[in-house]
Structures are given as structure tokens and as C-alpha cells.
Symmetry: C2
Subunit: 232 residues, 2 copies
DNA sequence: GAATGACTCGTACGCTGCACGAGTCATTCG
DNA sequence: CGAATGACTCGTGCAGCGTACGAGTCATTC
């Protein structure tokens, strides 16, 4: 039988490709590439959600055959991983933030993180079940550095990072899914009305109706930071 | 054409069924019922995970035909909703906890919540994207009551509840998925080794290796509660 | 001019959720 | 008593999915 290429990683060469990219670029469309596939996957995910991404649709958008994708990519999971990572880059805090203001830096980074995920709501559901990509790890590294500078004890550092991770993930996943499952409000309102009898406090406090998500995120984050590094 | 039953809710009668359940119960097996379907779905989900639940497998386990399920249940989503809710019941704090100890009550309830979800790891991924069932709402209602009693200001109550929700959801989802994606450790170890150069602090603090999850959950929860209702 | 490697793609397989319509059987009604 | 009704079961069939496999194309290198 013919020699079959195999191996658990992608087949495409990772080495230096010095080919001078001959002139006829727009043959029918630009050629397939891992980058183009990932970018299109993100488009598709944004437009259609997690279930909306199928290899067939992806190939259609790229103007290629379905199986061509598998040259550049191991499998569908790989596409998810790459799309997720491509969306989580962090460019660092703005200059405006004073470098002594650790609290401002943490808040900025976590709000940016949350915002990135909400811009691509599928990413929030994806992150916990996929391996940690380089961009998330960079964020955690930075977080660790900043908290340490803020005076969090070494023994508490892991717990502090996990707590913030948990808070951000929970908040973002919840928010993203409220958006998704919102059918326009009519059915939701009706459901809530029936709740008021059984769950008076939830109803009274309008827990499920108050939708200042950004404010609540920031305020709750403030409470958590208070607990982690009490203001003296 | 024949009159076709329809409607967005399930077809099976919800009303009082006074039929005396004639004696021949063990015909071949017990008859199909919504309860039996849900219980078996939970079994299947526990054993095979989210992707492991298919209507065909479910029907097989129940000794029935696939389409018979659809008499009792609207569609597959419905099965997920019912299974999720059936798993999240809360029986209240033990008597041991003094009734003045609001902190103990909150911690108990949230730890129980997390434990329930970890006993059925698929539930954690499911909860944020499904509608809120009665059992979760009960928990929130109770939480609201307890926090209020603890002295959390009315204006902060919503934020407090959401913060705790976020923390629990994030912690549980993360934990559940670490379990799932753990391939035995070999590959993970290798991956981590390569990280130590690029992310020295993460490596040094053994952030990804320390696996005292329960302790970290409790300790981080303590920090958050400190922020929400400072001990005087 | 043959060989190689990068890349594309059509076909096919086994799996999925579920629409539809044809059944079975106990209970109720005229 | 016979017919009708409603509760329930189930087989067939369809469209869509991920992807294995093998056959192709084409530029570059020996």
C-alpha cells in the first residue's frame, strides 16, 4: 500500500517556506491557508453561532472543496481551537493608566477580556473546554505579575488568579447566553410573570430584568478585589 | 387530511389522569414515561457525556423505538432541559449549621451546588445556555434571603447574587472540563514543560498543576464573601 | 524527463435528529 | 354491542453532519 502521511499534528509544513509566491495570485480566489480558514471560521461563528460552523459551509465561503480544508487543519476541533485563540489577543493597558495603579490594570485587562469574548459570544462557551492557547496564558501571566505587585501573598496567588478567572468566565458565559436565548422578550416576560408568586424576592429585586451587565460586572469585580487585596 | 396535533409544548396530557393503571404492569418492561426517559437520559449523560446522548441510544436503553420518545418529549433540547433540572434539587442546609451562621449557610449551599454539578459534569456546561428551571430559581431565592439577612444592602443585592453565581459557574465549568480533557497526564505534562520558558510565573506557581480544587473553591469564595460583607 | 511534495477535491460511509404516517390497544360513547 | 376516540408505539425515510480514502493537478527540484 502507498505510504500514508500521518501523525497527530497537522500535515501542512510548518517550516520556513521561502517560495516567492508566483505572480498569479488571483487564480479564482486567493489560495487556501490556515489563516484564511481561521478568519473565515470566525466570521461564520459570529454570524451563525457554534452550531452554524460546519466544514461544508466553511468550504463554501472559502470557495474550496470540503476536503481541502483538511490539508491545513487536523479536524473540526482544530478549527475551533484556532478560532478561539485568534480572538483572545491582548494588546496591554493604555498609557493613560498610571503604572502604580494595579487595580486599574487588572480591571482593564479583565474588562477587555470579557469584551473580546462578548464580541464573539461562541468563544465564551468554548474556552473552558479547549486547551489553553498562548493568548490566554499571556493574560494569566500578566495577571499574576500585577497581583503580586499589588501585594497579594505568594500563598494566595493561585487562589486569587483562579477566583478572577472563575468570575470572568461565569459572568461572560452567562451574559453571552442570555443574549443568545433571548427570543425577543415576549415569552421571557410571560415566564417571569408566572415566577413572581413562587419566587418573590427574585421578582421584587428584578434580578432577571436589571440589565446593566457592564456595571454589575465592574461592581462585582470590585467586591472580589476588595476581598483579595483589602484597601488599607 | 387528518387533524394533526400540534403546539409548541409536549403532546402528552398534563391533566389529571385518573386511570387506575390496569394490573398488567410488567408487559415486557415498564411503560415509557417522561420520568423514566429523564432518569435514563441522566444515566446516559453521566456515562457518555454530552455528545454521548443520542435519541437512538436513549431509546435502546429504554427498550423502545426511537420515535416513541417524541410522544413524551418535544425534542432533544427538551430532554436536556429536563435532565438538567432533575439534577439541581437542593434539600437545604443541615441542622448542624446554626441558623445565625449566614456564612456557613451560603458556603454550604454553593458547595452543594457545585458538587451536584460535578457529579454530573455535563450539567455545568448546560446550565448557562438553558432556561432557568425551578430548582435553580429556588436556590437563588434562598441565596437572596440569606444575603439580605447577612446585612448586604438592598442596592448591592443583585450584584452580590450575580457575583456568587458567576464564581460558582466559572469554577464548576472550569473544573468539569479539566476533568474531561485530561488525557491521562502525559501529553499535558509535556505541554506544560514547554510553557515554562514563555510563562515563568505560571510555571513557578504551578498554577496549572495544583489540584486542590475544593480548597481553592472554598478559599476564593471566602475572599469574595469578605468583599461582599466585610467581617466587622 | 522523471520524481517529489504541496495542495485540491469527489465520492462514500456511518452517524445524527426528527417528520410522517401507519399501526396497537384500552376506554368511552351512542 | 359496535364504533369512535385518544394514548401511545414504532419503521421508514430524509437531509445534513464529520471525515477516510484515493485520485487528481501543478510548480519545483534533481
Amino acid at each position: 500500500m502507498a505510504a500514508k502521511r500521518s501523525g497527530t499534528r497537522s500535515k501542512r509544513s510548518q517550516g520556513i517556506s521561502v517560495s516567492l509566491q508566483s505572480v498569479q495570485e488571483p487564480r479564482s480566489e486567493s489560495p487556501l491557508s490556515r489563516e484564511r480558514i481561521v478568519a473565515t471560521a470566525v466570521e461564520l461563528l459570529d454570524a451563525q453561532g457554534l452550531d452554524g460552523l460546519t466544514m461544508r459551509r466553511l468550504a463554501d465561503r472559502l470557495g474550496s472543496g470540503v476536503m481541502s480544508l483538511y490539508w491545513h487543519v487536523d479536524n473540526k476541533e482544530d478549527v475551533f481551537d484556532l478560532a478561539l485563540d485568534s480572538v483572545l489577543e491582548y494588546r496591554g493597558p493604555p498609557q493613560i493608566v498610571a503604572s502604580q495603579d494595579w487595580r486599574g490594570e487588572v480591571v482593564h485587562m479583565l474588562e477587555d477580556w470579557r469584551a473580546s469574548m462578548l464580541r464573539h459570544p461562541w468563544s465564551a462557551s468554548l474556552l473552558p473546554r479547549r486547551a489553553l492557547g498562548p493568548n490566554i496564558l499571556s493574560r494569566l501571566e500578566l495577571l499574576s505579575k500585577t497581583l503580586s505587585r499589588a501585594g497579594v501573598a505568594d500563598a494566595d496567588l493561585n487562589v486569587a488568579i483562579w477566583s478572577l478567572w472563575n468570575y470572568v468566565m461565569g459572568a461572560t458565559i452567562t451574559r453571552a447566553n442570555f443574549d443568545l436565548s433571548d427570543d425577543g422578550g415576549a415569552a421571557t416576560q410571560q415566564r417571569l410573570a408566572r415566577l413572581s408568586e413562587r419566587y418573590p424576592r427574585i421578582e421584587r429585586s428584578r434580578l432577571l430584568l436589571d440589565n446593566d451587565w457592564d456595571g454589575a460586572f465592574r461592581k462585582g469585580l470590585g467586591f472580589l478585589l476588595d476581598g483579595l487585596a483589602p484597601r488599607q
